[in-house]
């Protein structure tokens, strides 16, 4: 996964905004987000809770429509998914673009066997016959590393452990051979050993099927070990994006620097950890200038008045900050 030839992106998102609320209240959860994903590429979306990473993922598939307004463009095969109607979206969801949700405990239907739940996807998105579908279901469970796949098809979700359920979720998501996988914190609820297994699985499937992946996580370690590209979100906007190695080695946005430094890695034991002062702003009353300015050690008067823009050339390093951190000094790597 070192040298990648330049190809047209699989999915390109531009100016994506999602706003929730009713009447006078409007909560801008995602604001002007743009990125692109190519075949076989894994993009990481990181940020703290409430930074808009999950809503971004849901907005791509139109899952946030019921509660909020989404504008902007999500280009998939030359068509804008934002303006597509519900019927068209249903054909895409689970077919060409699949999603894995965070909680393996609640995202499977407890009343249906695992086999039925895989079959559902195949029935609506492929033209396979019943026997072919069963064969594919067994093949999928095998692929995600569930032993005795044939006999486990008839079992219910409660008969599986957390890690196994997440594997079932992945099997369902991948059954129809999607071209793009959206994974919303797929390993957050799991142990590190199981997390390593699931991430390895996603990594190898992305390679084998040449599938693009958008991985939402709050763990920078997961990004470092899995992703090719990364976008850091803060208060609904992308504040820094670029190749994983560059961003993690030389973070330039003060927020990314702060996040990296909060992780207790390569820090002398039992010394105070760095923590970003203050708390994220309420989306109801965002600061006029840069949203991070009130907590930023590098802020100037300019930051309070106007908002720094993110250069949006795809695949390039982009930082939304007037005073980029050039030299990281003694910060932890």
């Amino acid at each position: 996964m070192t040298l990648k030839t330049v190809h047209t992106p699989l999915l390109s998102v531009d100016g994506l905004c999602t706003t929730f609320g009713s009447g006078d209240v409007s909560i801008p959860a995602v604001r002007d987000v743009g990125f692109s994903v190519s075949k076989g590429e894994i993009l990481g979306l990181v940020g703290e809770s409430g930074s808009g990473k999950s809503v971004t993922l849901r907005s791509i598939l139109g899952l946030s429509r019921r509660y909020g307004d989404t504008t902007g463009s999500v280009l998939w095969k030359g068509e804008n998914l934002v303006s597509k109607n519900e019927a068209d979206m249903r054909r895409i969801r689970g077919g060409e673009i699949a999603m894995i949700f965070q909680e393996p405990m609640t995202s499977l239907n407890p009343l249906l066997t695992v086999g039925v739940q895989i079959d559902e996807t195949l029935k609506s998105h492929t033209g396979l016959t019943a026997t072919e579908r069963k064969a594919r279901a067994i093949e999928m469970l095998d692929l995600v590393g569930i032993p005795a796949a044939r006999s486990r098809l008839g079992e219910y979700p409660h008969q599986f452990s957390g890690g196994m359920r997440q594997r079932v979720m992945i099997a369902i998501a991948l059954a129809a051979r999607p071209k793009l996988l959206l994974a919303d914190e797929p390993t957050t609820a799991l142990d590190v050993t199981i997390q390593a297994q699931i991430l390895d699985l996603i990594l190898s499937l992305a390679q084998d099927f040449d599938m693009g992946v958008i991985l939402v996580t709050h763990d920078l370690g997961v990004v470092a070990q899995t992703c090719d590209q990364v976008a850091v979100m803060y208060a609904g906007r992308i504040v820094e994006q670029g190749a994983v190695r560059e961003v993690l080695r030389t973070p330039q946005h003060p927020y990314t620097v702060g996040l990296m430094r909060s992780v207790p890695e390569n820090v002398p034991p039992r010394t105070p950890l760095y923590s970003i002062p203050g708390t994220p702003p309420s989306l109801l009353s965002l600061p006029a200038g840069c949203a991070f300015a009130p907590r930023c050690p590098q802020r100037t008067d300019l930051c309070a008045q106007s908002r720094p823009l993110l250069a949006t050339e795809t695949g390039q390093r982009a930082v939304a900050c007037f005073n980029q951190v050039k030299n990281r000094g003694g910060a932890a790597a």
Binding site: S49, V192, A196, A224, Q225, L248, V267
Partner: protein, 331 residues
Amino acid sequence: MSDAVLEIRDVNLAFQGKRSVLDVLANRPSRDVHALNGVSLDLKRGETLGVVGESGCGKSTLARCIVRLHEPTGGEVLFQGRDVFEPAERRDRTYNRRVQMMFQDPYSSLNPRMTTRQILSEALTVHEMCTEDEVPSMLSGLMDLVQLPQDALDKYPHEFSGGQRQRIAIARALAVEPEVLIADELVSALDVSVQAQIVNLLLDLQERLGLTILFVAHDLRLVRHVSNRVAVIYLGRIVEIGDSETLFANPSHPYSQALLSAAPSLDPDEKGKKIHLGGELPSPMDIPPGCPFHVRCRHKTPKCTTELPALRPLEGRGTVACHHAEEIANV
């Protein structure tokens, strides 16, 4: 061992499984969940002991046993030399005060119908920590201690963020002037930057108040950061225990090695350099014979499948329960 505040001696805990009528008729034994299988450790005064392991390994059960939320089916827990499960000791509420627990989920461990003031005053009055007149000044002192604003006293839990709630939980524990804190996944539900704030607070309070902390967590980086010593638990047994830096730099038990290498590093160049641990934690209802880890171990030999390895000290390392610790360490 005079400096040990808490001594845990060979603690066993089996939760009894339900037997159906059919089981009774067929004379099948009940299927017990063996959560703890002979855990022994000392908690020394003023230290932080980290406890790590996968979910279901018994680390939370151990924490709950220590604060008498579960009664062990075997072994004893000694606090300053006295068994806390003795009937006479059980009636004694001072142990509850001196050893305080803080829970994982900041959303369910505070009563939603009580303000911070009520939550903290309750702790103070139950243990008769001060007279009624002194309560307000004690409360404001506690707020300063955990770095919350004074107006937080009249708010309800839903008005706080996760990090602030954990500060209230810490304040509640500290209100009764404990000597030992049991932190069960205290910061696991928080974002990294908030995590850092709470960990800093905990380290600072430990320094100032001379607290002894048992820090149960699954985030290994965090445990390495806060602990003096670390115990690695697998299926209700300690498989390795020792000085934190030694253990993290050179884990000796194959399970510790795999567990530590599974934690994702921030360095993108580490990609792919890990020991792959296949399979999952076996069910604690059906613990494999011999070394319980042998089913997932890369180094297993026939001896491992039949003989349970005892914990033994290893030269230059911690104490390890593995038949082949020396050979593995030399590789």
